[in-house]
Structures are given as structure tokens and as C-alpha cells.
């Protein structure tokens, strides 16, 4: 594709200049001109009032025949033999895509003695499970897992490959895409099918969440995407569902693994599983200090939730990076998100805007957080939060956390 501005038609209105997300259009002698930064996204085409901008399809440089590739695949990430939550989310989304395309959904499960997990994958939507078992596949290794997946893809030719955007998935997916020579879209938050062209529309935030981009992989297969945990919906498991198991042996001698795991350490203390938390009390720069988080911790405990933080608080060293919610941290979708002393920079909002209900407590009435909040209280969090704790105690419900848990169980 190429984007061309017809200089004789251009009226110099500069509408395209401000519409361009990449700063790729400059005004030269009163006429818009496209520079090197152009990614051919076509954002300018739509805004031009005089149709001076056109986008033409790029000549096809066929490397594969897309029609030879069929089916949607999901990488079934497991750790310590447990199927990760993201895998179930990918199955849910993968199922939807597969049904739209009229194809089967397959999961690739690697590990050591993990066959017992196959029914779970079927229950959550897989039609086929590719099972590769070997003691050497017990833990994720870049080189062994890449080799297995690359071979399976070459053999079975799926059109779509989804991988969770976890620390493992984001290590594996690019290595695999590099090897296969196909495109990869990182950290997608929305997937869709353009049936007419039979293409996967992969939407993801960029520029710190300031911009959403929809990305296509037109010529190469499979179309690969890593998907942000906590965004896609799992299916309601159906334990009656079953499917086909395809076993493939691990060709140990064909893989050169040049790394070795010496030790796996689970971080001591309370593991913050923000992605799965139902209630989150989050603190930002306004908390003021490490000690300031104590009152948030108290509120979180009272509500049966967990504490999180914005990048500001993490950068200040008050809480570890694993607590960070936002574009460069975690994406969360609790039922209740209470933002305390968080200004609401777009990077933060990107990670929490899908929360069920957002409450913001901030001194500054103009803080952008109030724009995304359902309820806002303008005030000093160090004053408001203790009052809130007090108010909740009045209710005479000594253990709210149980209530939340039982509510969750009923779902």
C-alpha cells in the first residue's frame, strides 16, 4: 500500500497533519507532503475534505498461499502443570474466531505428564489438543518450545496462532514468528475477523495507550498475536465436551537448547494476582510515601481486595513493580477499582478502564481520573480513606471478604 497526496488537489487545510498519528505529514509551500515516518495507516485519507489523498494496495508479494492455512490455534501455557488463566481466555476468544471462520479450534499443550489437563482444554472450547510431552518440556524454554511449535505449524498450517502476552508468551511468540517468517502483533486487546478478506483484525494500544491501532498480517501465515491477559472472556466450562488428541513426540536430538534453568523462585510474601482480583485499591503519587500505602492496604483487606499502584508510585519506590497497573504494568478488570491519589494519566487508565466500577479519590478536581471514574470524591485520600474504612465498618459486616468470595462463587 502507498499513500499519495495529490498536490494540485490539496487546499492546505492541514486536516491531515493533525490527523496523522505518526507525524508523517508536513506542510511544504502550503501543500501537505508525506515523509519517511508514514506507516501507510490511511488515517489521513478519511479526514481529507477534498479527497486529495489516496491509498493504493501494495502489489502482492506472495510468499505463502493463505488458503492453504486453516484453523485457529492457541498456545496452552502451563506452569508447574497448571493451565494458566490466560490459556482459558484465549480458548474463549479463539472459539469465537474459529466459529466465525467455520474452522476448528486447537490448543497446543506442552509439558511433562500434562495429559490430565487436556479435558480442561476441551471443556473451555478446544476441539483439538496437540499434546507434546517430554521431561525436557516440563518448564518453558525458549528454544525447545519454539522448535516444537514451529514444527507443528509447518505440518498443520493454522491460519491464526494466539499466545498469551505473559512473560513466557512474549518470549516465545517473537522467537517463533522470527523463525516462521510471519507477522506478530503484540499485546492485543481486541480481535476480530474480516470475513470478506478472511483476515484477523488485531487491535492493540500504542503510544502508551494514547492510540489504538488495528493491524493486519495479509500475506503471511499464521497470523500471530499475543493477547493481553485479563481482556478476553473465558467460556463457561462444559465438562461434557470432548475432542481429538493429537500426540507428537519431542525430537530432542534436533533441538539445540543453549540455556539451562538453575532454579525457579516463587516470590515470597503475598502473591499479587491483580489480573484476577475482584476488588482493587490502587495508590498513586498522591499517596506520598511507602508508609502511606498502609491505609490503602487496610481498606483493601476490609473489602477483601488487593492493593495496586500507578507507575508514579512504583517509580517512587513505594511499592514493587509487580503491583503496577497500566500500559507498562498489568491490565485489570475488577468489579471495583478504587483509585487513590492517582491523577489518571492515559497510561494508567489503559490498564484499568475496563473495571466494573471505578471510584476516584483525589485532591485535584481537574485530575483526569475523574473523567473515567463512576464516582469521584474530591479530597485528601489520607482523610477520605480512613473515613471510608470507618463507614464500611459501621455496616456491621465484620468479614466482607467472605461475602465477596461467595458472591464470586455463585457466578
Amino acid at each position: 500500500m502507498t499513500v499519495i497526496i495529490e498536490p494540485t488537489k490539496c487546499i492546505g487545510c492541514e486536516a491531515c497533519v493533525s490527523a496523522c498519528p505518526f507525524g508523517a505529514i508536513e506542510m511544504v509551500d502550503g501543500v501537505a507532503k508525506i515523509n519517511d515516518k508514514c506507516t501507510e495507516c490511511g488515517a489521513c485519507v478519511e479526514v481529507c475534505p477534498v479527497e486529495a489523498i489516496t491509498r493504493t494496495e501494495r502489489a502482492k508479494t506472495e510468499e505463502v498461499s493463505p488458503e492453504d492455512y486453516r484453523g485457529v490455534w492457541v498456545f496452552a501455557e502451563q506452569r508447574d502443570g497448571q493451565v494458566m488463566n490466560i490459556t482459558l481466555e484465549l480458548l474463549g476468544e479463539g472459539k469465537r474466531l474459529a466459529e466465525t471462520l467455520g474452522v476448528e479450534l486447537a490448543a497446543v499443550l506442552m509439558g511433562d505428564q500434562v495429559e490430565s489437563k487436556v479435558p480442561e482444554l476441551f471443556a473451555y472450547g478446544a476441539d483439538i489438543v496437540h499434546l507434546v510431552e517430554d521431561t525436557e518440556l516440563k518448564n518453558y524454554r525458549t528454544e525447545s518450545y519454539t522448535a516444537v511449535l514451529a514444527e507443528l505449524i509447518k505440518k498443520y498450517r493454522p491460519e491464526i496462532m494466539l499466545i498469551g502476552a505473559t512473560n513466557i508468551g512474549r518470549d516465545l511468540a517473537p522467537r517463533l514468528a522470527g523463525r516462521i517468517g510471519t507477522g506478530l502483533t503484540a499485546d492485543c486487546t481486541e480481535l476480530d475477523i474480516d470475513l470478506e478478506q478472511r483476515l484477523l483484525q488485531q487491535t492493540r494500544p500504542a503510544f502508551g495507550g494514547n492510540l489504538m491501532a488495528t493491524i493486519l498480517c495479509a500475506q503471511n501465515r499464521p497470523q500471530m498475536a499475543t493477547v493481553r491477559p485479563g481482556v478476553m472472556k473465558k467460556l463457561i466450562p462444559d465438562s461434557c465436551r470432548t475432542g481429538k488428541i493429537i500426540r507428537t513426540p519431542y525430537q530432542k536430538d534436533q533441538v539445540n537448547v543453549r540455556t539451562r534453568i538453575l532454579e525457579v523462585v516463587k516470590e515470597a510474601g503475598r502473591v499479587v494476582n491483580l489480573e484476577e482480583a475482584q476488588i482493587i485499591v490502587s495508590g498513586g503519587r498522591g499517596v506520598g510515601s511507602q508508609e502511606g500505602f498502609a491505609v490503602l492496604e487496610e481498606l483493601a483487606q476490609k473489602l477483601g481486595g488487593v492493593v495496586a499502584a500507578s507507575r508514579g508510585a512504583v517509580d517512587a519506590g513505594w511499592v514493587p513493580a509487580s503491583y503496577q497497573v497500566g500500559q507498562t504494568g498489568k491490565t485489570v478488570h475488577p468489579k471495583l477499582y478504587i483509585a487513590c491519589g492517582i491523577s489518571g494519566a492515559i497510561q494508567h487508565v489503559a490498564g484499568m478502564q475496563n473495571s466494573g466500577l471505578i471510584v476516584a479519590i483525589n485532591k485535584n478536581p481537574n485530575a483526569p481520573i475523574f473523567k473515567v471514574a463512576d464516582y469521584g470524591i474530591v479530597g485528601d485520600l489520607h482523610q477520605v480513606v480512613p473515613l471510608l474504612i470507618e463507614a464500611l465498618a459501621e455496616e456491621g459486616k465484620p468479614d466482607l471478604s467472605c461475602q465477596v468470595e461467595s458472591a464470586a462463587a455463585q457466578e
Partner: protein, 262 residues
């Protein structure tokens, strides 16, 4: 020891503002910086240089203005800087970018470690590092949060996981991607800045310099294309609860109870 540090000049996305009327990004006046994670990568290399002795070559692909980012990295203490700049590189996705970098690394010659940042704040893909390692057929360790040992033929590092970390030993040559927990990047010194502009060079390499298959460069070599970009939809504003703090928390409690979130 020979180290290559890959870095990217990015707009400081923290300072990007949104035009409240059109919902589009205001890019004007947004300063360009060295991608933060890449600074951690560079710092790791600089520490190795101080401890073990090493030469550090910087590698970046970008427009001519990226010279500035390389100068800053030179000011921090790197020895050599290479800027890959050519119209042919424009519009590259991560695959084409990593292919281009791989060609350049091959031209640089023998090396022991390539350091990259985990991901860039403009694209947030975290893909170029692993794809580069694949193109070069060397092992990779991503999300490196601590370097425990660097020996003649191997490194031992801690790789961050969501719920802890793993200790990984990798053979050299290796590609490591750095997370911000790895270290605190140093300031360039005044001596360093003067040296970076007055004494050190930034070499400019083009598509011709690095060779390889021109079909795999830039937009042409990119399997992915941006179809459309748009401003994220903003959530509708809610209500500000008025009154004293005491009154406000009571109203909030009632609302939360009414909505069954408590």
C-alpha cells in the same frame, strides 16, 4: 568482551497530550528520549565494562535525528555508535526491524552479548529482541532483572516471571533484554557529553552497507501493516460526590451497596 547495545529513540509518551476536542494525540513538542528500558540495557553493559573491561557498540535504526540518542548513550560511556538510517528502512515492523538489525550485527562481527531493552514505550511490542536473537541463531533471555555472573562462555541471570523469577544460565553469545529492575541508569557526565559531541563519531550505515535481501527491509519486508489507527474511546464521566468527606463516603457506601459491588 564485546557488547552490542540496541536502542531506540522514542517520543516520551508520558508527555503526549490528547487534544480534548478532536481526541487525537498532540505530538508537537513531545521530546524524544532514549527508550527507558534501553537505558537499563546500556547501564548493564556499562557496568560490565567497568567490572570486566568491554567495548560497547551502540546500534539503532531510525531517522537521522536518532543521532542525538546515540550521542547521549555515547555520553554515558559507550565506545562506538552505529546509526542505521535509510529510506529503505522506513515503515518497518518488528520483523523487518530485527532483520535489519541482524544484518548490521553480522557486519559488526564477533560479539559476546547483545543487550536490548524489554520493550519500547511507543510500540510496547517487546518483539525486536527475541526476533533479532532468532535471526542470529543465538540464545535469548528476556526480562532480565539481575545479572549474577558473566564468564568467558556463559552468563547466569535472573529472568522475571509474573510470580517470581527463574535463574537461567545461557551460553555466549547471547541476547539479553533488560527490565527496569535490573539497575538504575547513570547520568551522562559533563565530560561524557563533551566527548560525545567533540571526540566520538556516529557512523551512518545504509541498506547498502549492511547488504542482505532488500525485499526484507522496511515496509516491503514487513508482514504486518497498520490498517487503521484511532483514539481510544474515553469512558463517560461519572459523578463527583459533593459534601464534606464524611458525607461523601456515606453516599459512596450507599451507592456501592446499591450496585452490589460490596
Amino acid at each position: 568482551m564485546k557488547i552490542i547495545v540496541c536502542l531506540k529513540q522514542v517520543p516520551n509518551t508520558n508527555e503526549v497530550k490528547i487534544d480534548s476536542k478532536t481526541g487525537t494525540m498532540i505530538r508537537e513538542g513531545v521530546p524524544s528520549i532514549i527508550n527507558p528500558d534501553d537505558k537499563n540495557a546500556l547501564e548493564a553493559a556499562l557496568q560490565l565494562k567497568e567490572e570486566k573491561g568491554a567495548s560497547i557498540t551502540l546500534l539503532t535504526m531510525g531517522p537521522p535525528q536518532a543521532d542525538y540518542a546515540l550521542r547521549e548513550a555515547l555520553a554515558m560511556g559507550a565506545d562506538r555508535a552505529i546509526l542505521l538510517t535509510d529510506r529503505a528502512f522506513a515503515g518497518a515492523d518488528t520483523w523487518a526491524t530485527s532483520y535489519t538489525l541482524a544484518q548490521a550485527v553480522k557486519k559488526i562481527g564477533q560479539f559476546d552479548i547483545i543487550f536490548c531493552g524489554r520493550q519500547a514505550i511507543d510500540g510496547d511490542t517487546a518483539q525486536v529482541g527475541p526476533e533479532l536473537a532468532e535471526h542470529l541463531d543465538i540464545p535469548q533471555v528476556t526480562y532480565v532483572k539481575k545479572i549474577l555472573a558473566v564468564e568467558k562462555d556463559k552468563v547466569v541471570v535472573e529472568r522475571a516471571l509474573e510470580d517470581g523469577y527463574e535463574v537461567v544460565e545461557a551460553q555466549l553469545p547471547v541476547l539479553l533484554t533488560a527490565v527496569k529492575e535490573l539497575n538504575t541508569p547513570r547520568y551522562p557526565s559533563a565530560y561524557g557529553i563533551v566527548a560525545a559531541f567533540d571526540e566520538k563519531e556516529v557512523e551512518t550505515w545504509t541498506a547498502e552497507t549492511i547488504g542482505g535481501n532488500p525485499e526484507k527491509l522496511g515496509l516491503k519486508g514487513s508482514p504486518t501493516q497498520v490498517k487503521r489507527s484511532f483514539a481510544p474511546k474515553a469512558k463517560e464521566a461519572g459523578v463527583i460526590i459533593k459534601g464534606t468527606a464524611k458525607e461523601a463516603v456515606q453516599v459512596l457506601r450507599q451507592e456501592l451497596l446499591a450496585k452490589h459491588v460490596l
